[in-house]
Amino acid sequence: MDLSGDRLISELYIFFGLCVLFLLGNLVIRLSNKDFPQFLFNCAVLSLLALFSASMLSSDLATTAMGMLSINPFSLFFVLILTIAMLLTGILAYEYAGRYGDFALMASFSMMGIYLVAFANSLISIFIGLELMVIPTVFIVLLSRRSLEAAAKLFIMSAISIGLLSFAIVTIYGASNSFALVHAQQSDLMLFAAALFVASLGFEASIFPFNVLIPDVYEGSPSYATAMLGGINKKVGFIVLMQVLILVFATFKSAFLAVAMLSVLTMFYGNIVAIMQRSFKRMLAYSSISQAGYMLIGIAAATSAGIAATMFQIFAHAFIFIGIFAIVAWLESRNRNEIDDLIGLNQESRLMAAAATLFMLSLIGLPFTTGFVGKFLLFLSAVNANLVWLAIIGVVNSVISIYYYARPIMAMYAVKAAAKKIKPEGAIVFVVLACLAITLLLGLYPQPMISMATNAANYLFSMA
């Protein structure tokens, strides 16, 4: 698509104008001290953003602004899915956070950071974006008074990871004299920078062994915050990982092999530890770690198909995760946190039991769900990149995972003696159904998402 320079800039401005509006809206309506108008306003802004990025995505736009930001299919793909994810998380928070205004303000800062990362065209934008994303998240976790410990842990680990990241950026600058995302020459300093990068993003993307506190944070945070952490923030770690590894360290074979090894470790760690968990939330935390391991397979493949597969899996997991944490939030509000507490759920609410079952089947990778398509694409890309062993380890892991997903499913369908019907709140039902629709419909007909992801991945490789 041919666009003149002025029009490009105007489009950029429109886009960031929307972001500012989003922010200002929060501040202005905050004065009225009413949650509902603010909530509506946020939903409207986020929907507009999603629509806008979807329309730009179909036009194959690719441009840069001020050398720092770039609108391209890769960034728009993530803006689209993460905006919709934020919309759904916002609904959860509105239902459960108590003080929605505080959540909205922090979330809008965090979203700004996420957009910066997605649009990043230089290491500086990535750094600023990540920082902007992480710090408000700590306060979101803190909204619930009981989660002080989780917030502290999140803060410490984020600080370490951001510290390492800045060190990595400085090292790259020292070696190449540039903050741009361009191919680096292999040197000892650059290898060091690559290791720093992978380690620092290890926490942001929940990769073993840099993820050690993540289950604690997920378990200790209120469920809507966990939905945001696991469904949105941890995905941003992957965006950066893909950008930097493909654009900067593309020729560093040992770094990609390291990613493959980390993928194996992360899958096994997540899956094996999940088997022993009694708390449903903690089990899901380990499960999301193992899913991060699968996502790394596509990055390790270092091909366009691999990146597309990782992007699809990020999309798939984001919505499954938010959907299932909507259910967890609902259960949590009734003080049911253990897997054993799920007994009789089917009698209480058929919808919730069926939805949770379908989400978990999708996490296992049952055909006709997005989870299946994502894993299938990942394994296929690994095989095509001559990483058959990695694909097979992935297969073994996805079968191990059946064990711990089966337990909650069986518990939900077990019969409880005195079970009464419970009607879930409308907002929760909406979030669950929306996530379920995405999981099932795009699992049955995944072509649009695959085309978008392929397009985005091809763009990323054309820049490299």
Binding site: I156, Q277, L366, V396
Partner: protein
């Protein structure tokens, strides 16, 4: 275009069940009618292959391919025909009507998955169907989910079958890597003359998947355990359809195993399983488990026939076995229904319901191999297929003898005289829906013999490797040997379990040798050990976090002791997790620097 309809009719029936089913309804008739409609629709289905692209990524198109060849038609017909009878039988069998919704929805879903499996023409569709079969089998075995034994049996089944699922998908991955396609026909046309590592690894994993699904050594025990499920489930999934998925895959992908030189392996595992199953069946007391071991043994014999290249013999056995095996399960269910006992030591008096008695006898005669029942031709065909290998042939002869013995033992015991005579009325009061399907199947055990003569014509449009397989024939030697085995087994069985003996049960325990032959307990211990091993690993890794933080605490204290002066500055702040992070980083750094690619 009639192909999707085959699946849509049961799906529609399942939807009716979801929407409309009330506990008072006799829903089985609707399910049965749906299966019958699909069976009739088969008449319009034509041979050929359909490919629908599901999605494309880059230049790879992921497609769903269906293939209809005579063998696929045969399996589809079995699924829908047995399905029709199963649903009918279930109307009599299910006493707790509140459970019938779940039951029929799961059964219909199984029927759809099995039919999908039967028409699969590439690995994508095969895998999808295979996976759903595993899951539905798990749900149906554990149908009585408040019985602990049922839950345990379901868990054993899913664990075993999951090993096969890993193997299957790994095999698919390797085949894709080796041949670049998922399509069966294309893969079969690409068979090389020399064995490549990809072909060998892929087909070995595929064989492993077949062994788990079709309950072959060392995975055979899940099938007898699966008898904890409702009887219609045993009759449908665990005798006539699902367990044969493995054998079916072995037949349609036969050239792969031939090219990979794995047929000898298949042969000997088959023979070994058959021996184990026969011995277990001779000792087993639970009425359904005897039949289950007999099923395991028949599946082994089918694989033996496949491995010897006698594909037509295997297909014949594959078809007729469904009839008499479903029949024997129907009978088992009926006698359990009437007596409310499970052990053949206690079940007596089946002869008081003449219709049931005679149909069961037909099934038994067929299993034992009496001329002219369809089982006779099956035994003869299997015998002649391995005739060139004298060791296997003599083992098959002995297995035939054992079969005749244990099936008559089962039959004589359950139809033996009932001392108190109180069950006679209950036998007579058995619902008609439980008797007539058995009668129909009994007729087919006889009529099925005609398939022996019709099958070459039926299979004429099959792929070349099937039509080129040795034709069926019965020699005088086969007739004599099968008949002698049948007679000797029956006679020995009668002398041990004749009515006069059954009336005064001996307290004599079986010899040590005989209990050694009952390997069931040994295998269960083996599985338990394997499961515990995996569990320990998981627990060990689960304690990882804990040990790690303790180790680092200890390290911290050591540092404290070493330099008290800087304690306040550093050690007090050491967070074990940050330490893990640091160690991880150090390892990563070393990796990136030292691994030269």
């Amino acid at each position: 275009m009639f192909l999707p309809l085959l699946l849509l009719v049961p799906l529609f029936a399942a939807m009716i069940a979801i929407a409309l089913l009330r506990p008072s309804m006799k829903y089985g008739y609707i399910a049965s009618a749906a299966s019958l409609a699909s069976l009739l629709l088969l008449y319009f289905v034509q041979n050929g292959s359909i490919t629908i692209t599901w999605f494309t990524i880059g230049k790879d198109a992921i497609a769903i391919t269906t293939t209809i060849a005579p063998l696929n038609m045969a399996l589809l017909a079995i699924v829908f025909f047995i399905g029709t009878l199963i649903h009918l039988y279930s109307t009599g069998y299910l006493k707790t009507l509140s459970e019938q919704k779940r039951f029929y929805i799961e059964m219909l879903a199984f029927e759809i998955a099995m039919a999908t499996f039967a028409m699969s023409g590439n690995f994508i569709l095969l895998f999808i169907a295979w996976e759903f079969l595993s899951m539905l089998s798990y749900m149906l075995i554990g149908f009585w989910h408040n019985r602990e034994r049922a839950v345990r049996a379901a868990r054993l089944a899913i664990t075993t079958v999951l090993i096969g699922d890993i193997a299957l998908i790994a095999a698919i991955v390797i085949f894709w890597n080796t041949f670049g396609t998922f399509n069966f026909a294309t893969i079969l046309s690409l068979m090389p003359h020399s064995v490549s590592i990809g072909l060998l690894a892929g087909s070995a994993l595929l064989l492993l998947a077949i062994f788990t699904k079709s309950a072959q050594f060392p995975f055979q025990e899940w099938l007898p355990e699966a008898m904890e499920g409702p009887t219609p489930v045993s009759a449908f999934l665990h005798s006539s359809t699902m367990v044969k998925a493995g054998v079916f895959a072995a037949i349609i992908l036969f050239p792969i195993f031939a090219a990979a030189h794995l047929l000898a392996l298949m042969l000997w595992f088959g023979v070994l399983t058959a021996i184990i199953a026969t011995f277990n069946a001779m000792r087993e007391k639970q009425v359904k488990r005897v039949i289950a071991y007999s099923t395991v043994q028949e599946l082994s014999l089918m694989l033996v026939a496949v491995a010897s290249g006698a594909l037509i013999a295997a297909i014949y056995f594959f078809i007729v076995q469904s009839f008499y095996k479903a029949l024997l399960f129907f009978s088992s269910g009926s006698v359990m229904h009437a007596t409310e006992e499970e052990s053949i030591d206690k079940i007596r008096g089946m002869s008081s319901n003449k219709l049931l008695y005679i149909s069961t006898l037909f099934g038994v005669l067929s299993v034992a191999g009496m001329i002219p029942f369809s089982g006779f031709f099956a035994s003869a065909a299997i015998g002649s297929s391995v005739f060139t290998n004298l060791i296997v042939y003599s083992l098959i002869i002995l297995i035939g003898l054992g079969t005749s013995f244990f099936i008559f033992r089962w039959f004589f015991m359950i139809s033996g005289p009932d001392k108190a005579g109180e069950t006679a009325l209950r036998y007579k009061a058995l619902p008609r829906a439980m008797i007539y399907p058995a009668v129909l199947l009994a007729a087919l055990t006889l009529a099925g013999s005609s398939i022996f003569f019709l099958i070459p014509g039926f299979l004429s449009s099959s792929p070349a490797f099937i039509t080129g397989a040795p034709q069926l024939s019965v020699s005088l030697l086969d007739i004599v040997s099968v008949t002698v085995l049948f007679a000797v087994g029956a006679a020995v069985s009668y002398s041990l379990y004749k009515p006069s003996r059954l009336l005064k049960p001996s307290q004599k325990k079986g010899s040590a040798l005989a209990s050694l032959a009952y390997t069931h307990k040994f295998f269960m211990l083996l599985y338990g050990g394997a499961a515990r091993f995996v569990y320990e690993i998981s627990e060990g890794v689960g304690a990882f976090d804990l040990y790690l933080s303790e180790a680092f605490d200890w390290l911290g204290h050591a540092v404290v002791l070493a330099s008290r002066g800087i304690r306040r500055m550093s050690v007090g702040g050491i967070n074990p997790y940050a330490f893990v992070f640091a160690v991880g980083f150090a390892v990563l750094l070393a990796w990136i620097f030292l691994v030269i690619v």
